[in-house]
């Protein structure tokens, strides 16, 4: 494997700055850093592939990407979920280019090799007339994604066969996934994910969702101007920011009183007994107090469960999005709408409209987010920004709550919970984890000391 590396001096300067809560700005879009990230972070972490309701029937499939690795995610005849590299084992042609569908076999358009749902090579044009007897079909099946696992219907893949299990990787986040995805007995995806290309760096978008309720008052000020959001500049800051292992995190945003503005996020009352049935008392306590959940699974899966609408009535939904890096200053955003299977059909429909009116490329909130993401990468190529020696000291401020906000020991959920969401604790954790991953095995002596 090609080992990308990093200048040792730059590494130490970086580490030093980051320990002070400062992030040198050049790391956002530096092309060498980007290459390192793809190899060292995306090559070893669990990445989201899809939700099990996207491939319900035997033979259902969707095509996905793990950064630049093409993935074919299928439901086999036995109902199992499998993921393969979406590339023919003959000459490497992309096997299936459809977004989704249902099939028994996948046939390559180049020379016609075909594979079944188990990924086995089942057909070779002209068979042993061209290959003779030495060709053993079983050696040429589709290459499986090294690890595939799911939790609460969320299917993930990992390119590293030696990576820790998905359950271990998610760790404390499982407890919050149980609320988000399991509160009423399971969620379903509606349709295809929306996809669009935003001018942004994946670290900034992941941070924007997972760790930055502080931006809400300003970036989404138009909703304050329209009287949809409260005037109080702290309104998105009430609640807790929870920092977890592997730099996952969640913000449980409540309100000034510590209670939700509407009970159970405005979901129909008929669903509340399901919440009581599926959640522990501690989880129910959080679900009953929350206005918005927003957070992320490191490195590039984010989620938000808000209450929104553009028609005068508000609905709750769950939005997951994957930030697929395509360049240091570009992400392809994949945006899924999820809703409780148990919700009344009419509520599902209204919630979908509420989603379209708020998040996704056409969402009135997210439109303004894209502007700030773009403004970060558009200025990142300057000499002062790109100064790895830090003579110009171009660093970003991550000092919110740095030394004065202490964790709240009484918070009922796992993880380290800070008693405000206007804090940079999770961002700092994401940076720290990022540096640890990209520099792994690089400066052994220094790091392990």
């Amino acid at each position: 494997m090609i080992k990308k590396t990093m200048n040792e001096k730059a590494f130490h300067l970086l580490k030093e700055k980051m320990e002070q809560g400062l992030l040198p700005q050049w790391v956002i879009t530096d092309p060498d850093i980007y290459d390192l990230e793809i190899e060292k972070i995306y090559g070893h972490t669990w990445q989201f592939l899809g939700h099990e309701t996207e491939i319900k029937e035997p033979g259902s499939y969707v095509t996905r990407w793990m950064v630049n690795d093409p993935v074919l995610l299928v439901r086999t005849r036995q109902g199992e979920v499998k993921a393969f590299l979406n590339s023919c084992t003959h000459r490497g042609t992309q096997l299936c280019t459809a977004d989704r569908g249902n099939k028994k076999t996948f046939t390559c358009p180049y020379h016609g090799w075909s594979y079944n749902l188990e990924g086995e090579l089942v057909g070779i044009v002209a068979g042993n007339k061209v290959y003779g007897e030495e060709m053993d079909k079983s050696e040429w099946g589709l290459r499986p994604i090294p690890q595939v696992a799911s939790y609460q219907g969320m299917i993930f893949g990992n390119l590293d066969p030696n990576a820790e299990s998905l359950e271990d990787y998610l760790g404390e986040m499982k407890w919050y996934f149980d609320i988000l995805l399991g509160r009423s007995g399971g969620m379903e995806v509606r349709g295809l994910p929306q996809r669009w290309v935003a001018k942004a760096n994946w670290k900034a978008t992941a941070e924007n969702f997972a760790a930055d309720p502080y931006h809400v008052q300003t970036t989404h000020r138009s909703t304050v101007e329209m009287g949809i959001s409260p005037e109080d500049p702290l309104y998105a800051g009430y609640g807790h920011q929870v920092v977890m292992k592997n730099a996952h995190g969640i913000n449980v945003i409540t309100s000034k009183t510590g209670r939700a503005r509407v009970p159970y996020q405005g979901t129909p009352e008929s669903m509340w007994p399901l919440f009581e049935k599926h959640l522990t008392p501690e989880q129910l306590d959080i679900q009953s107090k929350v206005t918005v959940f927003v957070g992320g699974v490191y490195p590039n899966l984010s989620f938000v469960s808000p209450i929104h609408g553009t028609e005068g009535h508000l609905h709750n939904y769950l939005n997951f999005r994957m930030w697929r890096p395509i360049a240091p200053d570009r992400v392809e955003v994949w945006c899924w709408f999820l809703i409780d299977k148990a919700a009344p059909e009419e509520y599902k429909e209204d919630a979908y409209r509420g989603y379209l009116g708020s998040f996704g490329p056409s969402g009135t909130l997210e439109q303004d987010d894209t502007e700030t993401w773009a403004r970060i990468v558009e200025v990142s190529k300057g000499l002062m920004m790109r100064d790895k020696e830090l003579n110009y000291n171009s660093v970003s401020n991550y000092l919110m709550g740095y030394s004065h906000v202490k964790p709240d020991e009484n918070f009922p959920g796992p993880g380290t919970a800070y008693p405000t969401t206007y804090i940079d604790a999770l961002s700092r954790k994401m940076h720290e984890h990022w540096l640890e991953l990209i520099s792994k095995d690089m400066f052994e002596k220094e790091v392990s000391r």
Partner: protein
């Protein structure tokens, strides 16, 4: 379905409808969103499903279960009103945009005041002082009706040709 003779599309009707669509594009390109709303019937359904890549020839590649817009007049008004606030940053500073509307095809319906109109769009946008050009293209299917002597768009379905959108957001109307 057989149509009455008087329902045929005359050159005048074609011209009137073409003018309406051009007027609409002018409103949108010049941020006259309130005037634009006036062109829409109060009962409008305004939709934009996703385009998807599927295998097969002659099969639909519109993902009807997935959308970018699924709007009513009320929700469009909310979107418009937001664009008149100072802090809709996506349009402040405002983007420069052009809607190029072509291939207008008008079809009569059983109702002499109602026409089915198909048009192509090319949307282009420039933002801030960057040199990037954003674009989107596709087709629109409208129902346009004469109400009290004025033309109103009663329904619109927008079919984008891209399955992955290359404008960095969709603050525009198409």
């Amino acid at each position: 379905m057989s149509l009455n003779v008087q329902n045929k599309v005359t050159a005048d009707i074609h011209l009137e409808i073409t003018n309406i669509l051009n007027m609409e594009a002018y409103y949108l390109d010049n941020r006259k969103y309130k005037e634009w709303l006036e062109l829409l019937a109060d009962t409008i359904t305004y939709r934009m499903p996703l385009r998807e890549t599927v295998e097969g020839v002659g099969v639909s590649n519109i993902a009807e279960d997935s959308a970018f817009f699924e709007e009513t007049k009320t929700s469009l008004r909310t979107r418009v009103n937001r664009l008149y606030t100072k802090s809709a940053w996506v349009e402040n500073p405002s983007t420069r945009q052009r809607h190029f509307i072509t291939n207008i095809y008008v079809e009569a319906t059983a109702d002499p005041d109602e026409y089915k109109v198909r048009s192509y769009f090319l949307f282009m946008r420039s933002r801030a002082s960057t040199s990037d050009i954003e674009q989107m293209f596709g087709e629109r299917h409208d129902i346009i009706r004469k109400i009290d002597n004025g033309w109103k768009i009663c329904s619109r379905t927008i079919y984008p040709d891209q399955s992955v959108i290359t404008t960095m957001n969709m603050s525009m109307f198409l």
